[in-house]
């Protein structure tokens, strides 16, 4: 059997003088072009037999918990590798997904129902067969229903965890009583000028602007009053933070005394021994996160992975790692000893105590409000 490659045979003929240089280079070039042309189709051919699934999330302890409790057992059971990537923000990630090829990104740990709605608007959904995800039975109906209101006929994601963006304050300078008395208005209290922080996210700024002007965040009637409240906060704030790490650093280093904060991050600060209080004011910002399967992904393989990720041991490990309660219903599953102590945890499984952003309302105003916030932030 002749084991030599065509290239070797051509090279030998060229060296022997049987083939001129032009013909030799022409044949090599043609081979390269042929390979280049067939490669994209070869990719589709490979996709028929799934060898890997990509997961993108927030990184850190969450990724470690996923790797240990979900990805490795899943790979052992199915032979499919899980490639995990991280992102620092949902907006940035959506921009990446929009500019990618279909199938490049598979599962993402997305924030908020409004994010789910945005992916729906961009036509990035798949139709999940929930019968292939038996652990969905353990999930709170209140969380699943929020997604069903956006896509009544199907689901492209499974709920995974929830939390709140409440008020975080340094107890050395602000008492629990003062916080309860002032609520969201403490963020525009002149007495704390230069010691106030805030998330640079336009939704959170507007939500808290609504609370500071005694309006329903899901039905704002006086938007100008909200912008004025945001301007007041901007002038009193030392810094708009952009990540959980920055939030924790600003509070821990006492650069700021009060800000809104993510419940899980504040719980992490408390675990580290910092005397930081956390308070969800009436109508505080509740949110839920999901595992979203993106259009072009191998759906069945993703469904199987989602089932591994929703398994109680994985969900609980991830929840304990990131300090956000899991989507599992506490009335159906024993969530252990730590989770019931986490901020925002709802033992009833109904989530009636939390207020979530109405995705239709917020996404409908996104274009105008996000741009206006960019101006207001800079002094306009």
């Amino acid at each position: 059997m002749d084991n030599t490659k065509r290239y070797d045979r051509l090279l030998e003929r060229y060296r022997n003088g049987d083939l001129n240089r032009r013909s030799f280079l022409g044949l090599i070039g043609a081979a390269g072009a042929a390979y280049g042309l067939q490669t994209p189709f070869a990719g589709y051919a490979n996709a028929q037999s799934v060898s890997q699934v990509r997961f993108d999330g927030w990184g850190g302890v969450v990724s470690e918990a996923f790797r240990k409790h979900a990805f490795d057992p899943y790979t052992a059971a199915t032979g499919i590798d899980v490639v995990d990537g991280t992102f620092s923000g949902g907006d940035e990630y959506l921009a990446q997904v929009r500019s990618s090829q279909e199938g490049e990104y598979n599962i993402a740990h997305l924030s908020g129902v409004f994010d789910y709605a945005r992916y729906v608007n961009f036509g990035l959904t798949v139709e999940l067969n929930t019968a292939n995800i038996p652990n969905m039975e353990l999930v709170m109906d209140a969380l699943t229903d929020a997604y069903r209101r956006v896509t009544p006929d199907y689901l492209s994601a499974v709920p995974y965890n929830y939390g709140t963006t409440g008020l975080a304050y340094n107890r050395k300078f602000i008492s629990d009583e003062e916080m309860k008395e002032k609520g969201a208005s403490i963020l525009i209290d002149e007495g704390y000028k230069g010691k106030i922080g805030g998330w640079s996210d336009w939704r959170t700024r507007i939500w808290y602007g609504a609370l500071q002007t005694d309006q329903d965040p899901n039905n704002i009637t006086d938007m100008e009053a909200v912008w004025d409240a945001i301007r007041s906060h901007r002038d009193l704030a030392l810094k708009y933070w952009g990540s959980g790490a920055e939030l924790m650093s600003l509070l821990a280093e006492e650069e700021i005394y009060v800000t809104e904060g993510w419940s899980g991050r504040i719980a992490a600060l408390q675990e580290q021994g910092h005397d930081i209080g956390y308070y969800d004011p009436p109508n505080g910002f509740g949110w839920q996160e999901c595992l979203f399967v993106i259009k072009g992904s191998p759906v069945e393989a993703c469904e199987e992975l989602l089932n591994f990720m929703l398994a109680p041991e994985t969900s609980i490990a991830v929840a304990e790692g990131q300090n956000y309660p899991p989507a599992l219903d506490g009335t159906k599953v024993d969530l252990g000893s730590k989770i019931p102590t986490l901020p925002a945890y709802d033992p009833t499984g109904t989530l009636d105590a939390l207020t979530f952003a109405d995705p239709g309302y917020w996404n409908g105003n996104e274009a105008e409000w996000s741009e206006t916030f960019s101006r207001v932030q800079r002094g306009f």
Partner: protein, 317 residues
Amino acid sequence: MQSIFDILGIYWINAYHSVNLYLINGATRMSIERREARQPWILLSPALAAVALLLFVPLMFIVVYSFWLRSAVGADTAGFHLDNWQKALSDPFYRYILLNTLKIAAITTVLCAALGYPAAYFIARSRGNKMILLLLLMLPFWISYIIRTMSWINILGASGAVNTALMSLGIIASPIQMLYNEAAVILGLVHFLLPFMVLNVYVSLEGIDTNLEDAATSLGATRWQSFLQVTLPLSLPGLAAGGLLCFVLGAGTYITPLVLGGPRDAMFANLVFEAIITQLNWPLGSALSLLLLMVLGVLVAIYNRYLGMSQLAKGLG
């Protein structure tokens, strides 16, 4: 004895060979010339292909995008619309941020020149330890720009090195607020850009013949006069090249105001980032990024017109 025909025959053959040789030589020369003319293009072709694919083609995409529109749900509407350009050029908000960006870049450049020139002069005129000094100058490049920027939080923060030292010495009772303002942004930019200025000025100073300074001194000039009238004018191209680099890089930054700036502090690149990433308005973001590119392009063109790009290449090389 040779007949006239033989002589004519030999002459003809010689003439034929001469013409033939001339033609062959000519053809060979032509072929060599052609090959020589082609050679630079062949050598340049990988770089040209990379520039075309990685710079020109994406730039064309951005140009096309800038004429599209963002729909209410976030998807883009293809077409030829001037709305984004009209907004970018006429909206006072964008004009204000652009001017503020140019102002911050200009202040940074002046500070880099003021701090960088003496350092470059010291390195250029030092004996023996030049390589170590240049290595020290390059050292910050081994650390990520973001980490270098964030390091200021540990130096100037409320519980940073400066405040802790001042409080432990009893000079201040409570921390001084030094971060999260425009001054902190400029400080971060100077920290980032100073090596570019020093390198450019150093290259320029290294090229100056020190005998010229000695000649000026021997003609009665003081050391200061010799510096002002000989060294400084001769090193101006390096200073200008460093200035251009600092200005262009400074005007295009977005990390520094994000990390060290307060709520209001933003540069034009932050608006581009917000338009594309936060607002998902790629068409407007494209128009804004092209606007910044054009403004900086005009500055580079002015520099090139009066000073040429060769000095810049020396400083970078």
